[in-house]
């Protein structure tokens, strides 16, 4: 292909005479600032792209625009007080964050495997609803960035039902704060399970609709097949987790490998990809949603106490030193009054020690490292955010890609900045 110099100076002698004076156009790089408020960066991610024409030669992600200092805040309040802050980590799946945090503190207390079965089932259902909700939005935003706007409308119809379920259970649609250390804010209301079953029945046809729109869509497939391939080795080396890791063919799911709650009693499969491209990550998420529905349906059948809880199955860990006693007892009994007072003013008395608990969140492994010196306040609480780690690979992935591929890659990685920046 002729270069600009070839065209401008047809004569070879004139070209060489001019060559020294000309700026080297071949070498010139353009720096393009993408974000922090760019529709495809799903929040406030800024990426400084160095371009050679349309090819990205260097990408430098700049994060921290949503940094709120959650870890510092956690060091200054009791364990229970921090629960609302976990809603705001991955704000597309607050229920899952609540479950993860509660389990981490319970591990520190040593009661994570002594939770009442009804509580475990409700928590699993919360986590799976959150997974469907998060994957749906991730998928809808991904497809919309690629120009397939219809999917975005379809997924919001379904997500609305999940919000209704969250509202019925916790009273809030987004900032649920549903779990407590040792249990739940309250039991699920009567009729919730039927509503959940109805959602399960409706979401599968919706997923089928989405699949008919995308999975064999020529434009969609051509656009994301073989794009941004992450090899198995790279995925492990860069610490990816969740669907991004499984999309690269690594069969690692904490629900199977380190089962918590009642996951070992439930049947589900872990979908994995074979190539590790954007299409595989899309397919893994699609299948995970179907598996989540499968888990939900099993939970609805197996939950102890059933919909109305007529057998009065306990929902909370029964220990006044950890979980708030029922209000009617607080008002009438001395011991419960003292427990309530101590829990509210000082928090539960955690043993000194350190734990790490990793939870399979929709975006990947959400881990909490808690270092306790005893008492009701953590000495150090570190949040291992999946989006933070998953994003660290993009400077590597972007190199050599076209600039229009950035939106596809970011969509397929499915991150949330609230969690990344903490």
């Amino acid at each position: 292909m002729p270069t600009v110099q070839d065209i401008e100076f047809k004569d070879a002698a004139a070209r060489s005479a001019q060559a020294e004076n000309l700026p080297d156009l071949q070498e010139e790089r353009m720096v393009l600032n993408m974000g922090p408020s760019h529709p495809a960066t799903h929040g406030v991610l800024r990426i400084v792209l160095e371009l050679d024409g349309e090819i990205i030669t260097k990408a430098d992600p700049d994060i921290g625009y949503l940094h709120r200092g959650d870890e510092k805040i956690a060091e200054n309040m009791t364990y229970t007080q921090f629960i609302p802050y976990t809603d705001r980590l991955d704000y597309l799946a607050p229920l899952a964050n609540n479950v993860a945090y509660a389990l981490a503190v319970e591990k520190l207390l040593g009661i994570h495997d002594k939770l009442p079965p009804r509580c475990q089932y409700i928590r699993v259902m919360c986590a799976e609803l959150a997974r469907i909700s998060s994957h749906l939005l991730g998928l809808g935003a991904f497809a919309m960035d690629m120009g397939a706007v219809t999917v975005f409308l379809l997924i919001f119809t379904e997500r609305e039902k999940i919000y209704n379920l969250a509202e019925a259970a916790s009273g809030a649609r987004f900032t649920t704060s549903y779990t407590r250390v040792g249990g739940l804010m309250r039991d699920i209301p009567p009729g919730w399970l039927d509503q959940c079953q109805k959602f399960c029945d409706e979401v599968i046809p919706a997923l089928n609709d989405i699949e008919t729109l995308l999975t064999r869509n020529r434009i969609w497939v051509d656009r994301i097949r073989n794009l941004a391939v992450i090899t198995k080795q790279d995925a492990i080396d860069c610490g990816l987790s969740g669907p991004n890791l499984r999309g690269s063919g690594v069969e690692w799911d904490l629900r199977k490998k380190q089962p918590y709650l009642c996951y070992k009693d439930l049947e589900f499969e872990i979908p994995i990809g074979s190539v590790g491209d954007c299409y595989d990550r899309y397919m893994v998420r699609m299948e995970e949603m179907r598996q989540s529905v499968r888990i939900l349906e099993q939970c609805i059948k197996k939950i102890p106490g059933g919909a109305e809880n007529k057998t009065k199955e306990p929902v909370n860990y029964d220990n006044g030193k950890i979980f708030l006693p029922p209000k009617e007892k607080v008002m009438t009994k001395m011991e419960e009054l003292i427990h309530q007072f101590m829990l509210v003013t000082e928090g539960m008395n955690c043993p000194p020690g350190e734990i790490y608990f990793g939870h399979e969140n929709p975006k990947g492994e959400l881990g909490f490292y808690i270092n306790s010196k005893g008492g009701g306040v953590p000495y150090r609480l570190k949040i291992r955010a999946p989006s933070f780690v998953n994003l660290s690979i993009i400077s590597k992935l972007f190199q050599g890609c076209m600039i229009s591929d950035t939106v596809a890659i970011l969509g397929s990685l499915d991150f949330v900045m609230g969690e990344c920046d903490r």
Binding site: D234, E354, I355, K382, D421
Partner: protein, 224 residues
């Protein structure tokens, strides 16, 4: 292999440097006496014990104690499913330990975060600059002597880690800079504007130097 066995193997290899900590809630931890050896230990853990996945690196401020810092590595082997925690102490005067990027690439951002939040340096890190806070921020907010309410700091005129590509151009709003009238591109005087930008860059450099901030990468050179 189980996690305690992995801890014993580490101890057998490195002898007195490694001491096993009591198991808590089924998690195995070891303490490494000499932080300088952390890269070696990690290489051994990855190559020979197959800990191919680094979950996390965390730091701890033992304020009032000596050594002040503890850096904590969470290792996992995806093939055998074991987890191991390696803890090592670093004194405040030193505040530096070897980077483990060459072992696991994911350490890059974790180490940058620790540097950003605690001010611990990692020798051999190719790109150790702030990640969550902005470049030029003078404090390390996760230290125990940093108050929850924060400290006042002079905001650098350019609230980005590097000048943005269009900095100095007519359509760029400068943080904390001119009034709306002065920002109006149609009445802009390019000569004085560029002087102002330079002044802010100088001031940022001053703030950084006053707080012993290591020299970050300079502004991107414009191709001319």
């Amino acid at each position: 292999m189980t996690s305690p066995e992995a801890a014993q193997k580490l101890k057998a290899k490195f002898g007195d440097l490694i001491s096993e900590l009591p198991e808590f809630r089924g998690e195995s931890s070891v303490a490494l006496a000499d932080a300088e050896k952390i890269a070696e230990v990690c290489v051994y853990a990855k190559r020979d014990l197959d800990f191919n996945y680094l979950v996390d690196i965390t730091s701890l401020d033992n304020y009032g104690d000596d050594p002040r810092w503890t850096v904590i590595y969470h290792l996992r082997g995806l093939n055998h499913g074991c987890e191991l925690r390696i803890k090592t102490n670093v004194s405040e005067e030193k505040s530096v330990l070897p980077s483990v990027i060459s072992v696991w690439a994911t350490a890059n951002w974790h180490e940058r975060e620790i540097y950003d939040m605690m001010g611990i340096h990692f020798a051999g890190h190719p790109d150790l600059r702030r990640i969550l806070m902005w470049d030029g921020y003078p404090y390390f907010p996760l230290r125990k002597d940093f108050p929850l309410a924060g400290k006042e700091s002079e905001l650098p005129g350019i609230a980005f880690s590097r000048p943005s590509p269009m900095a100095g151009g007519p359509f760029v709003t400068v943080a904390g800079g001119n009034s709306a009238q002065a920002r109006e591109p149609r009445i802009r005087i390019p000569e004085t504007d560029s002087l102002e930008t330079m002044g802010r860059l100088e001031r940022r450099k001053e703030i950084q130097e006053a707080h012993g901030h290591p020299k970050g990468p300079g502004p991107i050179e414009k191709n001319s």
